[in-house]
């Protein structure tokens, strides 16, 4: 088992390196840097000015070198610019270049500085992630049990009216992306046009103080989309298990129907959806971004949009590292859980 996790970790690191390099490469393309220079400096800079601006700030080094510096495996640049000023990558904002350490990258715990928020990337990511964590927690609390319940109830007696009804619900929710369901939910429950006004149409206040009123709609919006998908997986898996020979054996052994479902079918039926739930995370992240934008909840997804929209390179990198990490960890958990649920596979 230990060996297996080690190997997975190695793959994870490799993946994370590859992905961050891609992000690094894309954000450091010249047109992007140019945009950055203009938004940081001033918008009327000439091409030559842009070039010196970037050159003075180390942006014109080769991408692999910059990447190595960002990682913290190459010494940070110290450049005496054409304007005579000496700048260093590792100097704290405002501090003199001489005080800088040699290495400052991820490995040294230095995530860089956000050009949009004017703050350390580390702290931004931490606070935003905490906010999104809160959102995700409630999404999971709502989504997973209801999806599993829906799926099991539908799949337990395939083809009956309950099944048809529940499946229709599930299909409809999978066909409704967050930006559609969010819009509809806001329209119905919080707009003055309909007049119900049960919930709030924005979740900004939920950042400090989440209540049912200001937090339910965003949570529901994310949960709905994922729920249908998981429910359908569970249903398919449950329906398949219910036709298995060993369920017939159990039935012909005199086990009652509720016991067949609970004791014989459930564990086998949950193996497939479990992995699906875990692999849902990259998708949920999508939903998070949409919902946070829609409800103006300033969490991780919202930060991602801000960073990407303004080509805030270091923040964007921080965000990608975290999201890739989340995705990979959930994959690892899904594998381990699969082994745990499925006795046929043993890790020795």
């Amino acid at each position: 088992m230990g060996l297996f996790i080690l190997r997975r970790l190695w793959v994870m690191i490799l993946t994370a390196l590859a992905l961050t390099y891609i992000v690094f490469f894309l954000t450091n393309l010249y047109p992007n840097l140019e945009k950055l220079a203009k938004s940081q400096g001033n918008f009327r800079m000439t091409d030559a000015q842009v070039e010196t601006y970037l050159g003075n700030r180390g942006y014109l080094q080769s991408t692999p070198l910059k990447y190595a510096q960002w990682l913290g495996v190459a010494p940070g640049w110290v450049i005496t610019g054409t304007d005579g000023e000496t700048r260093a990558r590792c100097a704290a904002p405002g501090a003199a270049a001489e005080t800088a350490t040699t290495f400052c990258g991820i490995l040294q715990g230095n995530w860089g500085f956000s050009t949009v928020f004017k703050d350390g990337v580390g702290s931004i990511v931490a606070t935003r992630l905490a906010l999104t964590g809160k959102l995700m927690f409630w999404v999971m609390v709502l989504m997973v049990p209801s999806a599993l319940l829906l799926g099991v109830l539908a799949g337990m007696r395939e083809g009956t009216r309950t099944d048809r009804a529940l499946s229709t619900v599930a299909i409809t929710t999978t066909a409704t992306p967050e930006y559609v369901s969010g819009v509809i939910l806001i329209a119905v429950f919080s707009s003055s046009a309909v007049g119900l006004k049960w919930f709030k149409g924005t979740a900004t206040s939920a950042m400090e103080n989440a209540t049912f009123e200001n937090f339910f709609l965003p949570v529901l919006t994310i949960a709905l989309y994922g729920m249908g998908y998981i429910a359908r997986m569970t249903r398919a898996s449950m329906a398949e298990v219910m036709t298995a020979q060993y369920i017939r054996t159990a039935r012909l052994k005199g086990v009652s129907f509720p016991n067949i479902v609970m004791k014989h079918a459930l564990r086998n039926a949950l193996i497939a959806p479990f992995t699906v739930i875990m692999l849902q995370f990259p998708w949920l992240l999508n939903g998070v971004v949409i919902v946070e934008t829609l409800f103006n909840y300033k969490g991780f997804g919202w930060t991602l949009v801000q960073a990407a929209g303004n080509n805030d390179i270091e923040l964007l990198l921080g965000v990608s590292v975290v999201s890739v990490f989340v995705v990979l960890v959930t994959q690892l958990i899904s594998d381990i859980g699969y082994v745990y649920l499925n006795p046929r596979i043993s890790v020795s």
């Binding site: 992905l19 066909a175 930006y179 819009v183 919080s190 149409g201 890739v324 995705v327 990979l328």
Partner: protein
């Protein structure tokens, strides 16, 4: 003039859709008549769910097509009639001339454009891009998934790693990085297009060659002909006057795809292919243990013949089902792009962009956002139901 009542609005909308109804009735009548000779497609008409799904999908397909021919729409989708700003559904167009349709059937948006016509035009955007992008994703996924599943080993490890890499990338982040004017300026989307769109060519070339290599007299002209046509289309597609990739002179270039659309297309293909790859790979690993594959090997067939003619046709059931689901997913992705204002031009009538425009005033005016939202919902729902119907029918005997 009085605003229309809801019954009138619905009645008039129904009339506007007349060409669509006719087309639907024709398709259904013909399909049900010949359903016993139409294989899986015919069986679809035995399942209620499948028929509902198919009807929904075809409704939007025909709406898109007729809309593009300016048949269903009532107004120009980009035309602004300033008095009509945010007007409720059924509002008469004030001071309209003789040749202008007298109502905004589903109201006006905040730029005073007709919501109904924009919805119809939006269907065309989806109907054009989604199936084609999905098809390309399938070509890429199949061309790479077959050998990965068939050979296994190093090749499989490498390709699977790459696929997982893309899958681990949050889609939104990828879009934000790829679909920006700056990136389009660097020409990266063009280069990616050059790589991704060559897969159909490879696919067809291998397909034909593996089948006919025993008869060179037939194979060579066939290959030259087919590849010639496809190659030209391919070059026209990727090459664009004035962009980074210009390989053929303008007068040979059959059509141009605007950079914004191309990059959207490429990104959608790019994020969809790894999933298709994984499905194809799994199916291949399963089917390659069958005796008919062994039989083909023992008579000395080449690996590509086995993959494309022995394995692929027998994996078609799950692939067709996934194809339908994936078109739905692509539609959602397109909407997401529009929602974030990525890629497509801001005045584009596509549903995602319209929803994004409409949501700002959502608490006061519902219709500009709700109409495209429900349209998208019904199309994706239709695709899902269609896939479900196909799955059920293909499992039956």
């Amino acid at each position: 003039m009085e605003p229309l009542s809801w019954a009138d609005i619905l009645g008039r909308i129904f009339v506007q859709f007349t060409p669509v109804w006719i087309a639907l009735v024709v398709v259904f009548a013909a399909s049900i008549w010949f359903k016993r000779n139409l294989g899986l497609y015919g069986k679809l008409f035995d399942s209620t769910i499948g028929m509902i799904g198919f009807a929904l999908v075809m409704f939007w397909v025909f709406t898109g097509i007729f809309g593009a021919m300016d048949m269903v729409v009532t107004h120009d989708a980009l035309n602004q009639i300033s008095v009509m700003k945010n007007k409720a559904p059924g509002t008469p167009v004030m001071g309209a001339g003789e040749d202008v349709y007298p109502y905004y059937l589903l109201g006006g948006d905040n730029l005073a454009r007709d919501v109904f016509s924009r919805m119809v035009k939006g269907a065309w955007v989806v109907v054009q891009i989604a199936p084609l992008a999905t098809l390309f994703a399938f070509m890429v996924g199949i061309t790479l998934g077959l050998p990965a599943g068939f050979y296994g080993g190093r090749l499989d490890t490498l390709l699977s790693f790459l696929a997982n890499l893309i899958l681990a990338f949050p889609v939104i982040l990828l879009f934000y990085l790829l679909v920006t004017p700056e990136i389009i300026a660097t020409g990266i989307p063009n280069y990616m297009a050059t790589c991704l769109f060559v897969f159909p060519l490879i696919f067809v070339a291998i397909l034909l060659n593996s089948r006919y290599h025993t008869q060179p007299a037939l194979r060579t002209p066939l290959l030259i002909g087919v590849l010639g046509v496809l190659g030209w289309l391919y070059l026209s597609l990727i090459s664009e006057v004035g962009s980074k990739v210009q390989v053929i002179p303008g007068f040979l270039d059959l059509f141009d795809v605007p950079g914004g659309i191309l990059v959207v297309f490429v990104s959608v293909v790019f994020v969809n292919s790894p999933t298709v790859f994984r499905i194809v790979r799994g199916l291949t690993m399963d089917i390659k243990t069958r005796d008919y594959v062994a039989a083909a090997q023992t008579r000395g067939e080449g690996p590509w013949y086995i993959m494309l003619w022995e394995i692929l046709p027998n994996a078609r059931g799950p692939l067709i089902v996934d194809f339908c689901l994936r078109i739905g997913y692509t539609t959602i992705l397109l909407g997401t792009l529009g929602f974030f204002g990525l890629g497509l031009p801001p005045e584009s009538p596509d549903w995602g962009t319209t929803i994004n425009d409409g949501r700002r005033l959502l608490s006061i005016y519902l219709h500009p956002a709700i109409v495209p939202a429900l349209s998208l919902l019904s199309l994706v729902l239709g695709l899902n139901l269609l896939a479900d119907g196909l799955r059920e029918e293909s499992l039956k005997d």
